[in-house]
Amino acid sequence: MKKLLSLVLMFSMAVFLWNCSSTKYVKSANSNARTPIAENVSNPQTSSTTLKYPKVNTLNENLSLSELKEQFSQIASDINFKFNSYRIQPINEYGINENPSEILDRIASFLKKHPNVKLRVEGNCDERGTIEYNLALGEKRAIAAKSYLVSKGISPDRISIISYGKSRPLDPAHNEYAWAKNRRDHFVLIK
């Protein structure tokens, strides 16, 4: 009798534990993920991200990186800076007439359209000044662009920065026009 009672108790405990287990839920969520009705599954992480950084258009998510890069090159270009400055401000000197904010706005809307791509901002300087200081200055320029994009709603996790200082000049000439071109942030799309 005692044995039977203990067996019944053990069975009921096992049934209770099986009902409490999260394995069943995870399993079903995973299996659903592979089916076309995956969007019905609520994912708390995704919803919080959506609140912060709203998905605008997910139609082009199947585009390859090279296709995205092609699109990106049409809307984005380098932004330029004044000598020894890392402020994002309109420039009209030495053949450069641009408003970097407009370029960054276009980049921000592109990133919003394509939430799966990431961006690398490469800070560069002209040949004047010393290597070590220019490396730090290039980084400040990259940080300035990143901060602007983040202020426009792009997740900071999607933007990495790097500084090349004066080691990668766009124009190797030694005059004000070349130097103005080389004081720049270059944007590279990455997966």
Binding site: R128, T130, P172
Partner: protein, 424 residues
């Protein structure tokens, strides 16, 4: 009265006489030899010397003498080691030379025996008379030693040629680390990573650090040039700039929370101490030999300027440069007395030196794209990179007299350099 007059005349003679009588013969203006170089007869190593040894020895000695900015060589005579000193000195005196180097070299097996005589013509003294043993790979090093001995005798401070320059050179897409002699000869590439490697710094007699983008993100590596041992020293930041020696550890500038400060890290890359605490850019640390003071560059006052900080007491940094809007890349001389740095005005860059307290600030040379000044171990020469037209060059500048020599030139770009201590 007569006695008084005679005594006065005698005293006057004692005071000035000796100067007048010997001054004209022995006065050597070390401070400005640009206008009065010391004449050295380079009269040996042709007779009784194998051709390749002769060629290499004479080429390097000649080059070193020129780079020193102190000497001018005369190669009109040839004497072997056995030639009597009295004859050699006699001819040298007629030719109005100050010193003569002569001798020969003999090969025995793998060894080369260099028999060297160096004489002081004016004092009629032998500076050195000895035999050195070397091999075919170290003939240039032997020549460097000969010039260092001569400089040591003439100036009282041993010459700087027994050291190496480590530098980075690239084409805008890749950059590698190279090592060459102090005079720019015998450059050897030590990295071949098809990526960007820059800002090499000597941190020991056999170790260098440099910044590399080998793994995408910039990282500082520690490399033993003799054993080839490579350690990734630090990569915990989006921006880390080359490390210099700080006691038994390293001082390194890197970005943390958006501002670039100077930190002390150990060999495992662990941060031990923060040397600057400022939200702007703080880079290029250089230390006095006792590590009590640090000079560095900061833009905390709006433009890059040079500051000094006492590390033994809690104190704020003191600004040293006030002229111009761009002063950067400071390097403290090994004797701890002077700071060499780069100043930029209207597109022209200047190599300047000042005392450690900021006094006696003066321009040593002017040029384009001057960068990375580094002192030689004798605190007399500054090596730096620059540009002449479309060519990039490594300059060697005599800090005493401003004599400028070109040790190397290339179409490629230099990305930093550093001079070693005296190597064995």
């Amino acid at each position: 009265m007569k006695k008084l007059l005679v005594t006065s005349l005698f005293m006057l003679f004692l005071l000035f006489g000796s100067r007048f009588s010997f001054g004209a013969t022995f006065e050597i203006t070390i401070s400005n030899p640009k206008y009065k170089p010391i004449k050295v007869g380079l009269w040996g190593f042709v007779k009784n010397t194998p051709k390749f040894v002769s060629r290499e020895l004479l080429r390097t000695i000649n080059r070193d003498l020129k780079i020193s900015g102190l000497f001018v060589a005369d190669q009109t005579q040839h004497f072997s080691y056995e030639a009597p000193s009295s004859v050699v000195d006699g001819i040298a005196r007629l030719d109005k030379l100050d010193y003569v180097i002569y001798g020969n070299a003999v090969i025995e097996g793998k060894n080369i025996y260099v028999n060297l005589k160096m004489t002081d013509v004016l004092r009629n003294m032998t500076v050195t008379d000895r035999t050195f043993v070397t091999n075919r790979y170290s003939i240039d090093w032997m020549a460097d030693k000969i010039v260092d001995i001569l400089m040591g005798y003439v100036t009282g401070t041993y010459g700087p040629f027994e050291s190496k320059i480590v530098f980075a050179m690239g084409n805008g897409k890749t950059s590698d680390i190279y090592i060459c002699d102090f005079n720019g000869q015998n450059a050897v590439r030590i990295t071949n990573w098809h990526t960007f490697n820059m800002l090499p710094k000597w941190v020991d007699s056999d170790e260098i650090t440099f910044l590399s983008y080998r793994y995408g993100k910039p990282a500082v590596f520690l490399f033993n040039i003799f054993s080839g041992r490579l350690i990734r020293l630090f990569n915990a930041s989006n921006l880390s700039i080359a490390a210099v020696r700080y006691m038994n550890n390293f001082a390194i500038s890197f970005n943390r929370y958006g501002s670039t400060n100077i930190y002390v890290i150990n060999q495992r890359g662990r941060v031990l101490r923060k040397l600057t605490n400022n939200p702007y850019i703080n880079v290029s640390p250089s230390f006095t030999p006792d590590f009590s003071k640090m000079v560095f560059v900061s833009n905390r006052d709006g433009s890059p300027q040079i500051y000094i900080k006492n590390l033994n007491i809690i104190s704020s940094a003191k600004r040293l440069t006030f002229q111009g809007k761009y002063n950067s890349s400071p390097d403290i001389s090994p004797d701890g007395k002077k700071i060499a740095y780069i100043s930029l005005e209207n597109g022209v860059s200047y190599l300047k030196i000042m005392n450690i307290d900021g006094s006696n600030d003066k321009v040593l040379m002017e040029g384009y794209s001057l960068d990375s000044p580094s002192w030689s171990y004798d605190s007399r020469y500054i090596v730096l990179t620059g540009r002449i037209g479309n060519k990039n060059v490594i300059y060697v500048v005599n800090a005493d007299n401003g004599h400028v020599s070109i040790a190397m030139e290339t179409w490629l770009m230099y990305n930093g350099l550093s001079v070693s201590s005296k190597l064995q």
